[in-house]
Amino acid sequence: MSNAWAVPRRYPTPAEPRIPAGGAKLGPVSVGLQDGARSTLTSKVGLSEICLSYRTQSGERLLALDHINLQVRAGEFVCIVGPSGCGKSTLLHLIAGLQAQTSGQVLVDGHPVQGPGTDRILIFQEHGLFPWLTVAENVEFGMKMKGLPKAERQERTRHYLRLVHLAKFEKSYIHQLSGGMRQRVAIARALATEPDVLLMDEPFAALDAQTRDLLHDELERIWSETGRTIIFVTHNVREAVRLGDRVVLLTFRPGRVKNEFPVVLPRPRSLEDPEVALAAREVLDELRDEINQSLEAEYSAGVKPHIEPGAEA
């Protein structure tokens, strides 16, 4: 079921010249997918040779992302897993255009990403809703920035609030909602701008188990109803297998694509399905090394050079 990374990788030290985008030196940017037909041209989101390095406070350069290559088809649900500190959230910020990579290219529909755009909406772990606006006004926000007429905004707001089962709460303020409801508002707000790509950054990490199960079901339903492309970042392998068409495993710092696992289990799935557990185990076995490295770095170094997504944005 797994397909191992075949191309040997060599990551340059900062002194070395950067490999040009497209990775000509490394051969074609095929990432060992099952059907070789997926090229940069047909993919919805294409990451090619993405590198990101930071200058730490002590002045040394720290490589956070190392030649990431990833192609995501339109309508695909891709989950990215990795140990904390692998730069998986940062990757989403790059796709969202909230941060710029050091080298490489993010392509959406074949066009390089220049900055934020409402064709790609990011859902943050801490939801990022605006506490000074009501639920409905939050959902309306993106459409208002786009300059849509009020009647259309209100109609779409009602539609998407119904989709996440929050129609009754349109006049509430954010602090009056539970954690699960807030994430649902965030999902409605993201969907309301009708983006092609939904970027989700550990959106359910802070929720209790029951709420999370419920939101998994809802997200799967919304995804199949709307046909959006979803890139979902999580540290929870079981969650990734339960939701994704494909699970992409990143290594500990510097983040590299270690392996990809297509998930061919029938939907709808459940976290408790034995098949999900089995597939998750396979991913977890490979992830374990990376987690150990991440823990080692955390305990031995004392001071962990923690990278916050958007730190330089």
Binding site: A96, T118, G128, F130, P131, W132, F141, G142, Y173, R189
Partner: protein
């Protein structure tokens, strides 16, 4: 109920003490007036429209001056907070300038603008601009970064990003600075008005002194205090309560 009772007891006591000392006639009444004398002055002042006019003129000035301060201060504060060069250079200057009483700008204002309304406005602006600027700078830094990111993510940029996201997001962090700015503006205004025949409350206060009318002086002082209190209580308390309701923040005290 209990709180109201405590208020009444406290102020009744204060009034009683005042009456007692006045009635002992240690000082002549034109130096130490009775509460009734002050009340009469207040009544007379409102009756012949002197106080109404003074309040209107002063309020007009403070609203204009403070308004300009808020707009300028927000722009300045935002600039300082988002530009490293400005922060390092102007940041320190702003803090040190704040130690300068705003009335020190009076001589300068006189030379620049002449003896008129603009000189007073200038002093009011200089009095409150720094508080607003520093508050905005601080608020912009304290504001969680996620709001700006979420706003840009949803397509807000430039002025829209400022107006719809950064400004409302930083409001809870700058409201106390805005309040302080108002207090400084009000004080600067009264001070400046006392130095110049200008129709405002400050001038009416000085008129009381010129006429040796201590009742009038105290009456105007009470007016100045009351207006400050009412604006603080109605405008700023209201704003704080509004923010608490929306954001779900715990009340400040």
């Amino acid at each position: 109920m209990k709180r109201a009772a405590r208020y009444i007891i406290f102020y009744a006591g204060l009034l009683g003490l005042w009456t007692l000392i006045a009635e002992l006639k240690i000082w002549p009444p034109y130096l130490f007036p009775t509460p009734w004398g002050v009340a009469e002055s207040l009544y007379a002042g409102f009756q012949d429209h002197t106080y109404w006019i003074a309040i209107r003129v002063s309020m007009q000035r403070v609203v204009i001056g403070y308004g300009i301060s808020v707009v300028l201060g927000m722009i300045l504060g935002l600039g300082v907070a988002s530009n490293k060069f400005l922060e390092e250079t102007m940041g320190g200057l702003l803090v040190s300038l704040q130690s300068l009483p705003s009335i020190c700008w009076w001589p300068l204002a006189l030379l620049w603008f002449g003896l008129n309304q603009n000189a007073i406005l200038f002093v009011v602006i200089m009095g409150s601009l720094l508080s607003v600027t520093l508050a905005m700078e601080d608020g912009r830094k304290q504001m969680p970064k996620i709001f700006g990111q979420a706003g840009r993510n949803l397509g807000a940029k430039g002025f829209k990003l400022f107006w719809y996201v950064l400004l409302p997001a930083s409001l809870p962090f700058i409201v106390s600075g805005l309040k302080q700015g108002w207090a400084f503006a009000w004080r600067s205004l009264i001070t400046a008005e006392m130095l110049y025949l200008s129709l405002g409350l400050g001038q009416v206060l000085m008129m009381g002194r010129d006429l040796n009318d201590m009742s009038a002086v105290i009456a105007v002082m009470l007016l100045i205090i009351s207006i400050g209190y009412v604006v603080d209580g109605v405008v700023f308390r209201g704003m704080e309560r509004h923010l608490q309701n929306k954001w779900g923040l715990a009340p400040a005290n």
